[in-house]
């Protein structure tokens, strides 16, 4: 690895540690990393939207027109409409004409809600409804072995659970009597489902942390001491120790502050 690349990796490693330091408390390292990433990501996004959004979707479509004719002579002049609407959004920069920006927003929301109505009805209601109308495997009702997912009784439980869950979501009826009992079953099913999916996610989240350990270990620490690297020089471990020193220094500083404040009464946390 070249030294320049290693320096960049070192920066990545420092930023990684800076973010992890937030677990202890908000601190200057985290604040720096946070403000840096906000600026970088906003800039990145602006550039990407320019190059991959505006240029191909608008400029290239109008490029065969002439600016002094307001691109009206281009092959697809109708793309001037969204461009005009986009410019209308900028009336928000003025206090007096800001209300004009409501027009493009209204069109935006009108189009979005209009698209959503049939689409969501189809995907979330009609298709799920059709999916409940399935054949229960009566021949395999008791399934094979312990808690068989494919068994008939499991399918019946899915069906009953769905109905009970839906009943829980009734707004205009109090949860009393039989109705209340079914609604209660519904919320139990929801909670069991939520618990299961919480438990399932733990593994994926721990993996994310393992990957960060791997990054710090293999991509950074090992490289810093890799003498087989043809570009190896004393600067590699020097930068490793520099970062290590900063970390240790910060820990010592925090520890001293902790010792100083240990005997003082803690300020009441509101």
């Amino acid at each position: 690895m070249e030294f320049g690349t290693f320096l960049w990796t070192t920066l990545g490693a420092m930023l990684t540690l800076a973010i992890f330091s937030f677990l202890y408390k908000d601190n200057p390292f985290y604040k720096f990393a946070e403000h840096l990433v906000v600026g970088v990501s906003a800039g990145y996004w602006a550039v990407i939207l320019w190059h991959n959004g505006l240029v191909p979707n608008l400029f290239e479509r109008l490029q065969d027109g002439d600016w002094y004719l307001l691109w009206l002579n281009s092959s697809r002049p109708w793309y001037l409409i969204p461009a005009l609407l986009g410019v209308l959004m900028w009336t928000r920069f003025s206090k007096k004409y800001a209300w004009i920006s409501r027009w493009p927003i209204a069109m935006y929301i009108g189009i979005a809600t209009g698209v959503a109505i049939p689409l969501e009805m189809a995907n979330r209601v009609n298709k799920q409804l059709y999916a409940t109308m399935s054949n229960i495997h009566w021949s395999n009702f008791f399934g094979s072995g312990f808690l068989d997912t494919a068994a008939g009784y499991s399918e019946v439980i899915v069906f009953i659970g769905t109905i009970a869950g839906l009943i829980y979501f009734f707004f205009s009826k109090a949860h009393t009597g039989t109705f209340g009992v079914i609604a209660k079953v519904g919320i139990y099913i929801l909670m069991i489902g939520f618990g299961a999916s919480f438990g399932l996610t733990v593994m994926a989240r721990i993996s994310l942390f393992i990957q960060r350990i791997q990054f710090m270990h293999e991509d950074w620490a090992l490289v810093a001491f890799d003498k087989t690297n043809p570009n190896y020089s004393g600067w590699f471990p020097a930068f490793f120790w520099l970062v290590a020193l900063i970390v240790i220094g910060y820990i010592i500083k925090e520890f001293i502050i902790y010792l100083k404040n240990k005997d003082k009464p803690k300020p009441e946390k509101a």
Binding site: V202, M203, I206, S207, F209, I210, Q211, I213
Partner: protein, 297 residues
């Protein structure tokens, strides 16, 4: 929090500062990552059957390895490839390999290089001693490389490997590769193992196994796990490994601990730690309630 000076042990158990949870989790994960101890791993039969199958092949048999993944799913799938390749070379089996994913060849090459390196050392697996050996390209393995249109390539190889791949990945004509002598199509291979992070698996099942009836084993990512599991029950696939769990099981079977087992070690102890904290919290909660009830009376 409501009582100022209520500092009995149960109350403390209920309100451990979360920073202790964080610190312990870091300690546990980092320790488990770096310390070389082992954990038992529950081996499922669908993984064991692959290991068993390859272990009992006569020396010189050809295992066909299809590597269809890219760096995105490398973490889960590389351990499978490594353990499987090492097992094959130690058992003196020969390996043919394709990569029908555009980014697959670099994955396959990395695996061959790393495993060839590892084979240069004497090792003992499952109590059996294996002397060091040199793994030679063209003799012990043949890497065919990448070609587009997986369905047609898989079908073509069913007639003759030389049709889609007149020469291997490094440009050597197949006819001048020692391993390929007398090898025409899948009939001369013992089995096909598809390690895949893409839908390319579908092609191996329907165009490969479906047409040419070779024994097919799958290694897939955890996300794809549930999707292809039914093929195991229908008998189209004889063995199945899914995700990091499957990879760790294979490493365990091969007695060749690698990254998957390390990851599982971390996972296991991290899970234990979380469960430990949940239990501590609940003990505190119940004992506190119990005590308050008694005091109340």
């Amino acid at each position: 929090m409501t009582n100022k000076q209520d500092t009995n042990i149960f109350n403390r158990m209920m309100s451990i500062d979360r920073r202790w949870v964080f610190l312990l989790l870091i300690v546990v994960c980092v320790t488990a990552y770096f310390l070389p101890f082992s954990v038992p791993i529950l081996v499922e039969p669908e993984v064991a059957v692959i290991h068993e199958f390859i272990d009992t092949l006569p020396p010189g048999s050809i295992v066909f390895l299809a590597i269809d993944y890219d760096p995105a799913s490398l973490a889960e799938l590389h351990p499978m490839t490594y353990a499987l390749l090492e097992q094959c070379f130690r058992r003196n089996l020969r390996v043919m390999c394709t990569a029908l994913h555009p980014n697959g060849p670099s994955m396959a090459e990395a695996a061959f290089l790393a495993v060839a390196d590892s084979c240069r050392l004497d090792k003992t697996y499952n109590g059996e001693f294996f002397p060091a050996r040199e793994v030679v390209n063209g003799v012990d393995y043949c890497f065919l490389g990448y070609k587009p249109y997986p369905a047609l390539v898989i079908l073509g190889m069913g007639t003759n490997f030389r049709l889609p791949f007149p020469s291997d990945y490094y440009g050597t004509p197949l006819d001048s590769i020692p391993l390929m002598k007398g090898v025409q199509n899948y009939d001369q291979t013992a089995c096909v193992v598809n390690i895949s992070g893409t839908s390319g698996t579908e092609y191996w099942i329907s165009y490969g196994q479906g047409r040419f009836n070779f024994p097919l084993a799958l290694g897939v990512t955890g996300v794809m796990g549930a999707e292809y599991y039914p093929y195991l029950n229908s008998g189209q696939v004889f063995g199945y490994m899914a995700g990091m769990l499957g990879a760790a099981q294979y490493e365990k079977l091969a007695d060749n601990p690698g990254k998957a087992i390390i990851a599982m070690k971390v996972q296991l102890y991290a899970h234990f730690l979380i469960i430990f904290f949940i239990i501590i919290g609940n003990i505190g909660f119940f004992m506190d309630k119990f005590k308050k009830n008694r005091e109340g009376r």
